[in-house]
């Protein structure tokens, strides 16, 4: 059963069309990869799904219900979690408190019931040693990890990950892949935008390719990667 559906979504900024008549779906339990050159409209796609941006036209459906007009916080409470490509930590709060926000508001549970799950997520994401550190003093890589941890704290059904592997060493990247596989094994569907293709391919069941706001391919990851159209664009990416 499709968990997320986009029907003919369109979004433009002035005369720049960033999402053009875009339709896609994500099945429950699926892990979907998204690739495409910089500026293709990948992050915008996430903003449309999470409610950070409203589409000019088209519909967005989650769990069978039309959520096009639903505010972002409601979508989070229904189970759509995201990490930001450019981290947005709550800099004046501790790492632990950053997670508490997601846990308390995303799940609606009383704060005291969130302590245990948040501590567990901090352990799983390797941030437990930084629990009482102000998020504003984290390094960029730690901030990215916090993005993931905080989204997890809101107990999502679907997790949208926006380029969280960039800048990791090979070892860290493998650990991240393990973490994402774990999350998925816990029943969370994944949509992952990533330029580190080998990491992406080791997780996803299906791959979508976006270029200039248009979906140009959608299917089995290896078939998609080998298509001539993607080869052309992909060469473009690696040449950058």
């Amino acid at each position: 059963m499709p968990q997320i559906e986009l029907h003919n979504a369109r979004k433009s900024f002035g005369s720049l069309v960033v999402t053009d008549d875009f339709s896609m779906h994500l099945d429950e339990g699926e892990a979907l990869g998204v690739i495409g050159p910089n500026g293709a409209g990948k992050t915008t796609l996430f903003n449309l799904i999470t409610g950070g941006l409203a589409p000019d036209s088209g519909r967005i459906v989650f769990d069978g219900a039309d959520i096009t007009a639903l505010p972002a916080h409601e979508r989070c409470r229904r189970g759509i979690g995201r990490s930001y490509q450019i981290p947005h930590p709550f800099i004046g709060m501790t790492v632990f408190e950053n997670l508490l926000v997601g846990a308390a508001f995303g799940t609606g549970k009383p704060e005291s019931q969130c302590y245990g799950p948040c501590a567990e997520i901090l352990e799983k994401t390797g941030l437990i040693g930084k629990a009482n550190t102000l998020a504003g003093s984290l390094s960029l890589l730690e901030r990215k990890r916090l993005e993931l941890a905080r989204a997890l704290a809101s107990d999502p059904k679907v997790l949208l990950l926006d380029e969280i592997a960039g800048g990791l060493t090979e070892e860290e990247c493998l650990a991240l892949v393990d973490t994402i596989r774990d999350i998925r094994a816990g029943g969370v569907s994944i949509v992952w935008i990533e330029h580190i293709v080998h990491a992406l391919l080791s997780v996803v069941d299906r791959l979508i390719v976006i270029n200039f706001g248009v979906k140009i391919d959608d299917g089995d990851p290896h078939t998609v990667m080998n298509s001539t159209q993607v080869q052309e664009i992909y060469m473009g990416i690696s040449a950058e």
Binding site: Y84, L100, G102, P117, A119, N132, S154
Partner: protein, 342 residues
């Protein structure tokens, strides 16, 4: 969950327990003014208390909810006029008119919020100021409230507070101290509740808080209405002390917002201790400099600019960082069961 057994969460720190004593001593010092001071000292303490309360409210708005209002004088004026309307026109007991003024200010705050919340950043600030001006000009038009020259509380209303002058002053004094303690307490309680998590998150990133389930609009609206309502109560109290109201003074940008912003900025914005430190510094400066006339305002401005450039976290921010002080601990810290850090 096994991990719940492994960890515990605490907010208090060693300095916060020490801080509690300092604060209690401060409250006792203020509350016992009638025992050690005269009429002038009591008036000064009341004024100190309402500036502290106004500053707590502005700090809640600007320092936590990210609502940089320069129009809080709207609610001081509305509260002040509400006291006159309720007690003179409707014959309500003046002390009952104080909470009613808070309700009235809240009722005005809702439509005001629906207008100004559409504006962002500097436009929001300007919008709040314009709205306050509209209120000022509107009240100046009401001839039954004395128009532009204002009016005084009739002697009957004043006597209803208490029979003798010293008793009346004692009543106003007690309410003043209570309002200062209550405003500080409410902000502290709010920040320790889940609302505090949401508010602080909004302050740091509106995009992230919203995408983690915080209803930014509603949270800000509640805070705005709460601050307006308490500010309205303070306004009514101020004019119960002054007996006389006029639109220009009641809706004064300088008196009720500029000084208050000064207090919060030099004390430390986004910290509960900030308004307390700021109010103390403000009163000390005023005691020594008030005779200088317009130089006084320029010196205040200069102090504010220097603090903003040199110590944007305010005086309390500097002290807190240097000595690891948290008088009002709101930070949730995670510890292992044995008390060691995780």
């Amino acid at each position: 969950m096994a991990e719940t057994a492994q960890y515990r969460v605490a907010t208090a720190t060693r300095t916060s327990r020490a801080g509690l004593f300092v604060l209690l001593a401060g409250v006792v010092f203020l509350a016992t003014t009638p025992l050690w001071g005269g009429r002038a000292e009591m008036r000064l303490v009341v004024e100190f208390c309402y500036f502290l309360a106004l500053a707590q409210m502005w700090n809640l708005l600007a320092g936590y909810a990210g609502l940089v209002s320069v129009g809080q004088q709207a609610f001081v004026g509305l509260g002040g006029y509400a006291l006159f309307v309720f007690s003179i026109w409707l014959g309500v007991h003046p002390l009952l008119a104080l909470p009613l003024a808070a309700v009235a200010a809240a009722l005005f705050a809702i439509p005001t919020a629906l207008i100004v919340f559409r504006l962002r950043g500097a436009y929001f600030a300007i919008g709040t100021w314009v709205t306050a001006e509209v209120y000022r000009l509107s009240f100046a038009q009401v001839s039954d409230l004395g128009g532009g020259s204002g009016m005084s509380l009739p002697i009957g209303v004043i006597k209803a507070v208490a029979g003798s002058r010293s008793e009346r002053e004692l009543v106003v004094f007690a309410i003043g101290v209570a309002v200062a303690v209550a405003s500080t307490g409410i902000v502290y309680w709010l920040l320790r509740s889940r609302y505090g998590l949401g508010l602080t998150a909004i302050r740091d990133s509106e995009a992230a808080s919203e995408s983690l389930g915080v209803n930014n609009f509603r949270t800000k609206l509640y805070v705005y209405v709460l601050a307006a309502s308490i500010t309205g109560f303070i306004g009514a109290l101020i004019y119960l002390q002054k007996f006389r109201i006029a639109p220009d003074a009641a809706f004064s940008l300088i008196d009720w917002t500029a000084y208050v912003i000064f207090i919060v900025v030099i004390g430390g914005i986004g910290r509960i201790e900030g308004p307390i430190v700021g109010t103390i510094v403000f009163f000390i400066l005023r005691e020594f400099l008030a005779d200088l006339g317009s130089w006084y305002l320029m010196i205040l401005g200069l102090v504010a600019v220097v603090v903003m450039l040199r110590a944007p976290q305010g005086i309390w921010g500097l002290l807190a960082a240097r000595f690891d002080l948290h008088f009002f601990p709101v930070q949730r810290r995670l510890y292992r069961r044995d008390g060691s850090p995780p």
